[in-house]
């Protein structure tokens, strides 16, 4: 009988103008490059050919880019789309974009900004790109609560609500940002067992 065990089969960390996959540094830009330019460099390096990227807010761009890095060479194609979940968390929700939208309201409200004034939109952008249709949830917590994330997702695996998922932390507020995105699968050859310690270990650079 399946006990809900799952495996971390990939990780992507984005911080300090660097992009790592499975602990390996894949892209680094000069520290003085600001977030929008760093994100554009990441898009050009890892993807391209997806013009909608330029319309996204920084939160969506960060999550989308991390998913691109994680799934480019090892996509989750072997699972039914309905069984691939997305569980994310951050500290600032969509406040970074909310404030810019608030500024735009003083003149003429921007519809393009308005559509990003929810933190879970980043999951929609990732789902559209990769065709995911499974369970999803976005939590807002002061810090990345790995124990909570493991408990929540393990229950999804146990209930067979998901067979694979992307999960992690996608935070941005002004110039400060950090992404720790993980690929978790029910079967994972050579992967780390999905638990809080290994989430930390997988993102240790």
């Amino acid at each position: 009988m399946y006990n809900g065990e799952a495996y971390i089969t990939g990780s992507c960390v984005i911080r300090d103008n660097r992009v790592y996959r499975d602990g390996e540094l894949l892209l680094e830009t000069p520290r003085e490059l600001e977030l929008p330019e760093f994100l554009r460099a990441g898009y050009d390096h890892f993807s391209g050919q997806y013009p909608k990227f330029h319309k996204m807010d920084p939160l969506s761009k960060l999550g989308w880019l991390a998913a691109e890095v994680l799934l480019k060479e090892t996509p989750l194609n072997g699972y039914p789309r309905e069984s691939v979940g997305l569980i994310l968390a951050n500290k600032s929700a969509s406040l970074d974009t909310d404030l810019r939208y608030y500024d735009s309201v003083k003149d003429i409200a921007s519809p393009a900004l308005f559509v990003y004034t929810l933190p879970n939109i980043v999951m929609g952008e990732i789902s559209i790109r990769h065709g995911f249709k499974g369970e999803n949830a976005f939590f807002t917590t002061d810090v990345f609560d790995r124990e909570f994330m493991v408990g929540y997702i393990s229950q999804l695996f146990l209930e067979k609500a998901v067979s694979a998922c992307l999960c992690g932390w996608v935070e941005v507020m002004g110039p400060a940002y950090e992404v720790m995105l993980y690929k978790v699968e029910r079967a994972g050859d050579g992967g780390l067992v999905f638990n809080a310690d290994n989430l930390q270990k997988a993102a240790s650079i």
Binding site: P51, H54, I108, S110, P111, A112
Partner: protein, 86 residues
């Protein structure tokens, strides 16, 4: 009309953040939505904002939208007609 269409193309690229499209690449009669330039419903709202900000025009009847926003030329014709009627 040619000058207005050129200005519109530049404004559309800027307002809609079409970073991979050059204004001169947009055809005068190229459909802006679906299989044409690929704009979506949010882009349509942004064009409405653009018309208001740059030309002081409000779309009174939303049902006119698909006709007005078909191409750069139809938008330019709408602006010209609106300015002439003032």
């Amino acid at each position: 009309m040619e000058k207005l269409m050129a200005a519109l193309k530049a404004q559309i690229v800027e307002q809609l953040n079409l970073q991979e499209v050059k204004p001169e690449e947009i055809g005068d009669d190229q459909p802006l939505f679906k299989d044409g330039l690929g704009l979506d419903s949010i882009d349509a709202l942004e064009i409405i904002v653009l018309l208001q900000q740059h030309y002081g025009i409000r779309i009174a009847n939303p049902e006119q939208g698909p006709e007005i926003f078909h191409s750069v030329r139809t938008i330019a014709e709408f602006i010209t007609a609106h300015q002439t009627a003032k």
